[in-house]
C-alpha cells in the first residue's frame, strides 16, 4: 500500500478539459461539531468525480454548500475561475448546479410533465400551455432514455424512473454541474447499469458529475477521479481505478481486513416458521423457516415483495392466508404487539420514516419498544430506561455527544444502530432487518455485521433483506430469492454466487412476461 502522500500533489487540470468548479479550504461548523475542516476539490467538465467518505466525513455538508442549503464559514467556491456566493437554491440553479438528493425533490401528486416544468411552465395567454409543456417533457425524457408518458403522475412511477425524472429536471435547468447523492442506493443491478449509461452519456456531452456512492465496486465502473473525505477534510485525490482496499484505507484511515466477517454458527431449533403466506397483489404462497443461530438472506429485485413479506410476518400489515409461527405458536395476523411479545423485531427499510422518531433524543428512541415493559401502574421508570439505553448505546458504539442528542443529527450508521438497539433492549430473538446497511459507510457496516454475528452466536435468528448482493452472499447462511411475490429459490450461501442469485431473481420475471 502506498503512503497518504496523494494529498501533497494537487493534480493540474488537463489541458482541453477546463475545470468548471473548484472548492478551496471550505470549512463549516455547527454548534458542537466541525462538519468541514478545509476541503479542496476540483471538478472538470466531462468527468465523473466520485466523492468518497464514511458517513459524517462531510460529503453531505459539502454538497449542501454547493447547492445553496448551507453557507461556508471559511474558504471559497470558484466557478469558471471566479469566486461565487451560493446563498440559496436559486443561486445554485442560476449558476447551473443541480443536485439530486436521495430524497427526491418531486411533487408526487403532479404529473411528470408538470414536475419537469415546475416553477416555469410554458405559458400561452397567461395560462399553462399544456401541449408545449408535454412536448418539452418528452424531449427531456428522451434525453435520459426513459419511455414515460409526461401525463403520468410521479407517484405512479417506481423509484428508478423517479430518479430519471430528477435527472431530466436537472437537464431542463441546463445544469453544467450535476451532483448525485447516492443515486444507486435504491436501485437494482439492472437499473444501476441503465443509470450509468445515462451518466456516461451526460459526461460525454460535457456535464461535470459529482457522484456519491458507498458501493466501492461502482467507482471504477463510473468514475474518473475520486476525492476521499475523512473527518471533514479532503485527504486524497486518486484515480477511480485505485484498488478497493486502498480506497477503504484512505476512507477509514486504517485497513479493514474483512468486509463480511460472518462467523457461522450451527443452527438450532426453528424459531420462525412461515407457511403459505399470501396477500393478493403483494406475495403468493411464501414458506420458509428460520432457525436459532441462523442468518437467512432474502434477495430479489426491488418490488419482488421482500419488504411486504417482512412487514406481514411482523404484523405491520395483514395477509390473506397462510400462517406465521414463532416457537411453534401461531401468531394472529396484523398484530404488531403479538409479534413483539413472541420475540419478533423489525428494523424497517425506511429508517427515518419508520424506524426513528427523528425529533426525539437517543435515549427515548432506544427505549421506545421497552416503554411498556418499563411501566408500572401507568408510570414509566425513566431513570431505568435511561440507564438501559446508555448501556446499549455503549455496547453498540453509538457515536453521540450524550443520550439527549436528537437522533436527527446523527449519521446514518449511528441512526441504524439505534433502530437495532431498541430491539436488543427488548431482547427480540428473531430480528427482521430490511436493508440494514443502506446508505451506511463501510466502517459502520462492519460494526453491524459484527453485531449480527454476536446475535446469532447467542441463539438469535436474523432474517436479512438486502439489495446489496455481496452483503447477502457474505453474511447469510442461506439465501432465499424472491421474484414477483414468490419465493423462487433457496441457495446455500457457500455455493451461491451473484450470478446464480440474479439468474433466479430475474428469470421468473421474464417467465411471467412471456405468459
Amino acid at each position: 500500500m502506498s503512503g497518504p502522500d496523494e494529498q501533497d500533489t494537487p493534480p493540474a487540470p488537463e489541458p482541453g478539459r477546463p475545470e468548471i468548479l473548484r472548492v478551496e479550504g471550505l470549512g463549516k461548523r455547527f454548534p458542537g461539531v466541525v462538519a468541514l475542516d478545509g476541503v479542496d476539490f476540483g471538478l472538470r467538465a466531462g468527468e465523473v468525480h466520485v466523492l468518497l467518505g464514511e458517513n459524517g466525513a462531510g460529503k453531505s455538508t459539502l454538497i449542501k454548500m454547493l447547492s445553496g442549503a448551507y453557507h461556508p464559514d471559511s474558504g471559497r467556491i470558484l466557478l469558471d475561475g471566479a469566486p461565487v456566493e451560493i446563498r440559496t437554491a436559486t443561486d445554485a440553479q442560476r449558476l447551473g448546479i443541480a443536485t439530486i438528493y436521495q430524497e427526491f425533490n418531486l411533487v408526487p401528486q403532479l404529473t411528470v410533465g408538470e414536475n419537469l416544468a415546475l416553477g416555469r411552465p410554458p405559458r400561452r395567454f397567461g395560462l399553462v400551455d399544456t401541449r408545449r409543456m408535454h412536448e418539452q417533457a418528452r424531449e427531456l425524457l428522451a434525453r435520459v432514455g426513459i419511455d414515460v408518458d409526461p401525463r403520468t403522475k410521479v407517484a405512479e412511477l417506481g423509484i428508478a424512473r423517479m430518479q430519471m425524472v430528477e435527472i431530466a429536471k436537472a437537464l431542463a435547468l441546463n445544469a453544467r454541474v450535476l451532483i448525485m447523492d447516492e443515486p444507486t442506493a435504491v436501485l437494482t443491478t439492472t437499473e444501476v447499469q441503465r443509470l450509468f449509461a445515462i451518466v456516461r452519456q451526460l459526461r460525454d456531452q460535457g456535464v461535470a458529475v459529482v457522484f456519491i456512492t458507498h458501493h466501492l465496486e461502482e467507482i471504477a465502473q463510473i468514475g474518473d477521479r475520486v476525492t476521499v473525505l475523512r473527518d471533514g477534510r479532503s485527504v486524497a485525490e486518486v484515480p477511480a481505478r485505485t484498488p478497493e482496499e486502498e480506497l477503504v484505507r484512505l476512507m477509514v484511515g486504517r485497513p479493514i481486513d474483512q468486509q463480511y466477517p460472518r462467523e457461522a454458527s450451527s443452527p438450532g431449533a426453528p424459531l420462525l416458521q412461515v407457511r403459505g403466506l399470501s396477500r393478493a397483489g403483494a406475495f403468493t404462497d411464501v414458506s420458509f423457516e428460520l432457525r436459532a443461530g441462523e442468518v437467512v438472506g432474502v434477495a430479489g429485485l426491488v418490488g419482488a415483495g421482500r419488504t411486504e413479506i417482512a412487514r406481514a410476518v411482523f404484523g405491520a400489515d395483514r395477509y390473506d392466508s397462510g400462517e406465521v409461527l414463532v416457537d411453534g405458536h401461531r401468531l394472529p395476523g396484523g398484530d404488531v404487539n403479538a409479534a413483539m411479545a413472541a420475540g419478533l423485531g423489525l428494523v424497517p427499510e425506511d429508517r427515518k420514516g419508520q424506524g426513528l422518531v427523528l425529533g426525539a433524543d437517543v435515549g427515548e428512541n432506544l427505549g421506545l419498544v421497552t416503554l411498556r415493559r418499563a411501566t408500572r401502574g401507568g408510570f414509566v421508570d425513566r431513570a431505568g430506561q435511561r440507564k438501559a439505553a446508555g448501556r446499549v448505546a455503549a455496547q453498540l458504539g453509538v457515536r453521540m455527544s450524550h443520550l439527549g442528542q436528537e437522533v436527527r443529527t446523527l449519521s446514518g450508521g449511528n441512526q441504524q444502530k439505534i433502530v437495532i438497539g431498541k430491539w436488543l433492549l427488548a431482547d427480540a430473538r428473531v430480528l427482521i432487518l430490511d436493508e440494514p446497511t443502506r446508505g451506511i459507510d463501510v466502517g459502520a457496516k462492519v460494526e453491524i455485521y459484527q453485531l449480527i454475528n454476536s446475535l446469532t452466536a447467542s441463539g438469535h435468528a436474523v432474517l436479512m433483506i438486502s439489495s446489496d448482493l455481496p452483503e447477502i452472499l457474505g453474511m447469510s447462511d442461506r439465501v432465499l430469492v424472491m421474484a414477483r411475490g414468490r419465493l423462487v429459490g433457496e441457495l446455500d450461501a457457500a455455493e451461491a454466487t451473484q450470478d446464480s442469485v440474479m439468474a433466479l431473481a430475474v428469470t421468473e420475471v421474464e417467465d411471467a412476461r412471456v405468459h
Binding site: V336, M340, V357
Partner: protein, 322 residues
C-alpha cells in the same frame, strides 16, 4: 464538542433557563416593561388577578398540549367547556341532583366528547381539524339546547370554586396549578405521555415499536375533553352562572398558548411549563393593555402581533442553534 453547552454551563442558572425557553424570556421582558409603564402592575392583587384571568385559558391549553404533542388539534375545547358547565348547572338545578353528582356528570360529558373526537380520528380516519370542528358545532349546539339559550345559575357550593381561599388565594389559580402539575406528570412520567411524544414525532415508527396508536389517541383526546370540562366549570363558577355562549373562541387562545410555549403544531414537542408560560403571556398582555387603557379594539391587534412575534422569535432561535 458541544461548545454551546459549555458556554451556557458557565452562566447563572436563571440565564440558561431563559436562553433555553424563549417564551419565559418574553414573559419576563413583558412583566418588566409593564411594571415600568404602570405602577399598578406589580401589586399582589393585580398579579393574582392576572392568575385568575389566565386560569381558564391555561387549563384548556394544558388539555390542548396533549393533543398538539401528538400532532393533532382540538378545536372543540371551548364549546365542550360550555356544554360541561351547562350540564352541571342543569343537573344540579332543573334535574335536582346533588352537586357532586352533577360535577361528575359534567366531567363525564367532557370526557365523552373527547372520546368521540378520538374515535372519529383514530378509527374513522377523519383529520383532527374536521372531527373537532364538527364536535365544536355539536357541543355548542347541545349547550344551547339544554339551556334553551339562557344562562343557568350555578349551585352555590360549586360557585365557591370562583372564590378565594382565606380571602387571598383564588381557587381558579389553585386549580390551574393542580392541572398544570397533573399535565407535567402525565407527559413526563406516564406511559401514555411518553407515547404521545413518540406518536407526534413519528406515528409509523411508534406503531412499529408496539405503541397502540388508536388507544393512545383515545387517551389524548379524552384528557383534552376532561380538561375542557374543568375549565368550563371554573369559568362558570367565576361568573356564578353557566352560559351556553361561554368560552367562544377560547380554543384559539388555548392553541396560541401551547404554541407560544414552544410546542410544534407538527407534533412531538411541547411541555406543560411552556404552555403555562404561554397562557400567562396572553393574560399579562391583556391585563397590561387594560392598565394602560388601550382600547379593546387595539388590544386584539397587539395580541395578534405578539403571538406572531413570540413564535417567530422562537423559530429563529431554534434555527440559529441548528
Amino acid at each position: 464538542m458541544l461548545v454551546s453547552t459549555n458556554v451556557l454551563s458557565r452562566q447563572p442558572a436563571l440565564r440558561s433557563l431563559l436562553a433555553e425557553n424563549g417564551a419565559l424570556a418574553a414573559l419576563v421582558v413583558l412583566a418588566v416593561a409593564l411594571s415600568l409603564l404602570s405602577g399598578d402592575f406589580l401589586s399582589v392583587t393585580n398579579l393574582l388577578n392576572v392568575g385568575v384571568q389566565a386560569a381558564v385559558t391555561a387549563i384548556l391549553a394544558f388539555g390542548a398540549t396533549y393533543v398538539i404533542i401528538t400532532g393533532g388539534i382540538d378545536l372543540s375545547v371551548g364549546a365542550v367547556a360550555a356544554l360541561s358547565a351547562i350540564v352541571l348547572a342543569w343537573s344540579a338545578t332543573s334535574a335536582g341532583l346533588p352537586w357532586p353528582v352533577a360535577m361528575v356528570i359534567a366531567l363525564v360529558v367532557g370526557l365523552a366528547c373527547g372520546l368521540i373526537n378520538a374515535a372519529l380520528i383514530a378509527y374513522g380516519k377523519l383529520p383532527p381539524f374536521i372531527a373537532t370542528l364538527a364536535m365544536l358545532g355539536v357541543a355548542r349546539g347541545l349547550a344551547l339546547v339544554v339551556s334553551q339559550g339562557s344562562p343557568i345559575a350555578m349551585p352555590d357550593a360549586v360557585s365557591h370554586l370562583g372564590d378565594t381561599i382565606g380571602g387571598y388565594l383564588p381557587v381558579p389559580v389553585l386549580v390551574m396549578a393542580v392541572m398544570g402539575v397533573i399535565t407535567a406528570v402525565v407527559l413526563n412520567r406516564t406511559y401514555s405521555g411518553r407515547a404521545m411524544y413518540a406518536l407526534g414525532g413519528n406515528e409509523e415508527a411508534a406503531r412499529l415499536s408496539g405503541i397502540k396508536v388508536g388507544r393512545q389517541k383515545l387517551v389524548t383526546y379524552a384528557l383534552s375533553g376532561a380538561f375542557a370540562a374543568v375549565a368550563g366549570i371554573v369559568l362558570a363558577s367565576r361568573l356564578a352562572s353557566a352560559q351556553p355562549q361561554a368560552a367562544s373562541g377560547y380554543e384559539l387562545d388555548a392553541i396560541a398558548a401551547v404554541v407560544i410555549g414552544g410546542a410544534s403544531l407538527s407534533g412531538g414537542k411541547g411541555r406543560a411549563f411552556g404552555t403555562l408560560v404561554g397562557a400567562l403571556i396572553l393574560a399579562v398582555l391583556r391585563n397590561g393593555l387594560n392598565l394602560l387603557s388601550v382600547s379593546a379594539f387595539w388590544q386584539q391587534v397587539v395580541i395578534g402581533v405578539v403571538i406572531a412575534l413570540a413564535v417567530l422569535l422562537d423559530t429563529l432561535r431554534r434555527r440559529g442553534s441548528g
